[in-house]
Symmetry: C2
Subunit: 145 residues, 2 copies
């Protein structure tokens, strides 16, 4: 629910792999450099992402990471949900934030939190990694005239 720095890195790593997908494996160090992510930290993140099945890796000389499904079949929601679940296995459905679930004002606030959660994930789920890549090329075109 909460988009941490780590989650943003995860998203950017996937994004980077998507752009590179048809050119084979990509090294951690290259991804780190391209996306300005601390390399050592990225190691942790990518090996976590492996467990989602969205990426695979190969070790050694021509090793690296690779995005498995085509980017148009992965949504941002898929990635965020995976990161969320693997970092916070117990999750408070009513809450938008890092949440300790107190009274919550009884149930007065719950409908609103639920609306927010739905609205957020609606957007995450309909946004594919390919959409993000397209955004960038659109933007580059705009910048370069």
């Amino acid at each position: 629910m909460l988009v941490t720095q780590k989650t943003q890195y995860a998203l950017r790593a996937i994004f980077e792999l998507a752009k590179h997908r048809d050119r084979g494996l990509r090294k951690i160090s290259d991804i780190a450099q391209a996306q300005a992510i601390p390399e050592r930290f990225l190691e942790v993140i990518l090996s976590q992402l492996k467990r989602s099945g969205f990426v695979t890796s190969k070790r050694g000389y021509h090793g690296g990471y690779r995005l498995v499904p085509p980017p148009e079949r992965i949504s941002v929601g898929d990635i965020l949900r995976f990161m969320e679940q693997s970092d916070h296995p117990l999750h408070c459905i009513a809450c938008i934030s890092r949440c300790k679930c107190p009274l919550d004002g009884g149930c007065a606030f719950r409908p609103m939190w639920n609306q927010i959660e739905d609205a957020i994930y609606h957007i995450y789920d309909r946004t594919t990694i390919q959409d993000l890549v397209n955004n960038e090329t659109g933007c580059a075109a705009a910048v370069n005239g």
Copy 2:
């Protein structure tokens, strides 16, 4: 953008004042008890909220806090925006989370973050404090049969 514990307390305090509005001033200690908020912390929060103009206070014997506008004319968005701005004067418009605004993947992610922000505030802005109060009475009715 990020709903912290403090912001939730602020919202619950306003909610409590709304319920009590026609009965005059309400003491910090009573609000704290009713909403399960640490009293000393609530002092800080309420005196911060005073600067928004949504609440006023009076000291001394029969002192306490009071909600100024009618609850149907205050939106959740009003409160959240005020808290957000007074806690984080510099705010990154592109970001949903605690954000350090790095590359952000160029502008690839920005449209999505903007959509999220708009969607969230659309809900916050259309939800009034009175709506929350109504939720609760509706819920109590459901519970009590």
